[in-house]
Amino acid sequence: MQSRYGTIVALLAALLLAAAASTMGSYPIYLLSLAMINVIAAIGLNLLTGNSGQISLCHSSFIAIGAYGSTLLTARYGVPFWAAIPFGALLAALMGALLGAPASRLRGIYLALATLGFLQIVQIAIEEFANVTGGVRGLTVPKAAVGGVRMSEYARFLIVLGCCMLAIWTARNLLASRVGRELNAVRLSPHAAQALGVSVHRVKLAAFALSAAYAGVAGGLQAIVVGFIDPVEFGVSAALRQITFIVVGGMGSVSGSVIGAAVLSAMPEALRPVKEYSDVIYTLMLLGFLIFVPHGLVTVWYVIARRMRRHVPTAPAEARR
């Protein structure tokens, strides 16, 4: 299903990255880890918004659920991180399905409002149930350990790298399979999809759960990398930043998620001298792309790649857009 060539290149790139990182200092490794965590989250959001066409303003809430869920399992019940993170992701997926059940029947501004409402509910719950979540002051995350031995920073980086590779691989597999076709189909023509036996509602609900799962993994990883959960990370600005990743990178493709998240994760570093302006710069970038490059950075490369994969020239026709 996937080109052998691409898989080998990706594996090589991952190995190179792992090797290079072993020579880097603490801070670059930290930044790279965060960038890869952003990639995982962006992949999830892109499946929901780019492929199944559902706008979501609460993606950061599922990251939060993953983060708090896995951290609490470790902190309170001693569950090791490698089990806690998947459980956190599962919890996020369940909440995604819970939201998706009603939300997938909504469209446009009503869907946006529903996701915004969910975001607020999660925010308020985090603040109000402070004895569990640490409230506005945040939650310290127990150090990730295997069999009582603390993981080194490099080991954590490798885990994040592994999860990122897994996320990219599973997402590409999904998009190349009937799952991906159905996700796109319900966005492109719900009528035709229904007529071919695809339940639009069920696919859209699954998209919510799936995107939440990726977000949950990202949240769990973020918790152990940062060592601390700050609820401010999960508000409206954060949600908009998630959306910026996929708008800038390109909606509907894994490559778009990777490019967008990678490029924009480099920005906070580049923007360090002008930190107060970072919010403004992010939003200007988002607006700029929305107006001028709506299909994202990946378009150029994607068009070329598609042309290369086609075995015959296009039939002569006017574009139907």
Binding site: P102, A112, A114, E128, V236, L290, P294
Partner: protein, 291 residues
């Protein structure tokens, strides 16, 4: 709960509800005519509050401040519509939602840079001495807010019903293409509906500032304003008023009856329930679709 307490709460609810009603009104107007929901409206309110701050610090008299806030708010709306909305008005809904959100965050970011996060405040026009009537205590600022809201709502209703521009706005909201064919300049109508909506939003900022202070987070009001718009139905002006007052009352009463932990959750749970079961609210059209 004694009657006095209930009435007192109702007064508080109506006064805070009036602000929500203004925000809802500011949201509903451009949505009705151009189909664009301005998710950045909250920051317009913030902007209005800060404009009021600057003008008050310049020791300008209150009537001048009001007039300036309205004018500058309107001007801001015209600029936003021309520069940021016009290029994407034909874009998919996703783009419009995110863009208006982004505009709001942009405004908030700029305000934060200029003024920092430290809170400011201005005084209400009628002081803080409560007015006693019928055994009930009335906050003069709250009364003033309610009066302004009522006047604005009535003003908008009359405007839409009786003036040429208002009728044109109604025509465009029903069918822009037909309106264009009838000679109505649709772009002008859009520009005016945005100008009026941002003027109202800015006014809300001015009015609410004495009550809750001035800081970049005022924009959170939009959440209540959106709930009010959903309750009232996104296409109804009187609905915005009713919705706003309803949200205010619900908020005030649930604060007393439910306790602080869950009181903040109530509006959003209500929002979700409405979106699922009755998205058109009380007065909205059942099939709300942008053609």
């Amino acid at each position: 709960m004694t009657l006095t307490l209930a009435l007192q709460l109702a007064i508080a609810g109506i006064s805070v509800g009036s602000i929500y009603a203004l925000v809802a009104l500011a949201i509903v107007m451009p949505f009705k005519s151009s189909g664009v929901l301005n998710f950045g409206q909250g920051e317009i309110v913030t902007l209005g509050a800060y404009i009021a701050l600057i003008l008050t610090q310049l020791a300008l008299p209150y009537p001048v401040v009001i007039a300036s806030v309205l004018l500058l708010g309107a001007a801001g709306g015209v600029v936003i519509e021309r520069v940021l909305i016009r290029p994407i008005v034909k874009a998919p809904e996703f783009t419009l939602v995110i863009a208006t959100f982004a505009i709001g965050l942009l405004i908030k970011g700029v305000i934060s840079i200029r003024f920092g996060d430290s809170p400011n405040t201005i005084d209400g026009p009628f002081g803080t001495e409560p007015i006693m009537a019928a055994g009930l205590r009335f906050n003069p600022t709250s009364l003033w807010i309610f009066v302004c809201t009522a006047l604005v709502t009535i003003g908008v209703i009359l405007f839409l019903r009786s003036t040429r521009l208002g009728k044109a706005m109604r025509a465009v909201s029903v069918n822009p293409e037909a309106a264009r064919l009838m000679g109505i300049r649709v772009e002008t109508v859009y520009r005016w509906s945005w100008a009026i909506s941002t003027a109202i939003g800015a006014l809300a900022g001015l009015l609410v500032a004495p009550l809750i202070g001035i800081n970049p987070e005022i924009g959170q009001l939009i959440l209540r304003g959106l709930l009010a718009a959903v309750i009232g139905g996104f296409t109804s002006i009187p609905g915005a008023l009713v919705g706003g007052l309803a949200v205010g009352l619900i908020e005030t009463f649930s604060g007393v009856l439910i306790g602080s932990t869950f009181k903040n959750l109530v509006p959003f749970i209500l929002l979700m329930v409405l979106l699922v079961f009755r998205p058109q609210g009380l007065f909205g059209a059942a099939e709300i679709k942008r053609v």
